[in-house]
Symmetry: C2
Subunit: 172 residues, 2 copies
């Protein structure tokens, strides 16, 4: 894991009831990701994933008013079922990003997701790195913990739902 | 290799007389890198390398007037003897860069070095990616081709010199 700098980073750490393999599927397969990624009533209307270093990670989030917010970045590190790192500082192919994230998101991030087996579930750690204290403070004030926490609740509920097809059907 | 975008990228492609393994050593071992990295009369007075994705790549270049120009970035992709990608958009650990590169270098880059065996030498391709056309134009006007070309000449001369200890001593 990268070194955590409490002045620059935001961290969400939780134990969740679904195993790392299914959290991984929810984060890395577009058809699953769109089902939980944005706290309701926001929706994720597009998702593109090329799961290799330098590969695209693109989403479009839609506000309840119908405004679209695109995000474009790339993956940096991929350890299947255990560790996923991506950034919006670089575009696919590692090119320095030309996109202005816009006033809704006046900073850029690198995010590192760590998944460790914990009983039948997962110790889930999301580390979000910022370049300076102002960016971190802004992100926290925007509701980082509520936003990422609610999305994680939605992830777990989705994975556990029959609709996801991710959990085996109960016996009998 | 990443896609080359002629509007955004600068490329130096050359055939050089030393094999990929020795070009690789010159680029990835600080004690070698400082010997050729900056066109004379500039010097490279510090170099720190941690050769793994997210690992540090830091140099300090000194002008003939004695002014120091630090560069801090990290590696993105490492294929031993073949491919080396790094950026100054991210700091070590993949954190978004907090350092203002300053007026001497008002843009950030991702660089991808490709080394292919070519006879007893190397087909050497350095691809430097910028976020926009203005950055590319500025870098070109600063003397990208002369600078990277002269540095490469210095690399080859250094590798071929007895001082490097990289080539086997001639027989007899």
């Amino acid at each position: 894991m990268p070194m955590i700098d409490p002045k620059l980073d935001l961290v969400l750490e939780r134990i969740v009831s679904v195993p790392p393999e299914l959290v991984w599927a929810a984060w890395t397969e577009p058809e699953h990701l769109v089902k939980w990624f944005t706290p309701v009533p926001w929706t994720t209307v597009e998702c593109e994933i090329d799961l290799r270093p330098g590969g695209i990670f693109r989403t479009v989030m839609r506000s309840p008013e119908g405004q679209d917010f695109p995000n474009l970045g790339c993956y940096l590190e991929i350890v299947t079922h255990r560790r996923l790192v991506w950034t919006d500082v670089l575009e696919p192919g590692f090119r320095p990003s030309r996109h202005d994230p816009g006033p809704h998101c006046p900073f850029r991030i690198t995010a590192a997701l760590s998944l460790l087996p914990h009983g039948r579930g997962t110790k889930y750690t999301a580390l979000v790195m910022h370049k300076d204290e102002a960016s971190r403070a802004h992100h926290e004030a925007m509701g980082f913990h509520e936003g990422w926490g609610t999305a994680l609740d939605q992830l777990v509920a989705y994975v556990e739902s029959p609709a996801s097809g991710l959990l085996p059907a109960p016996a009998g």
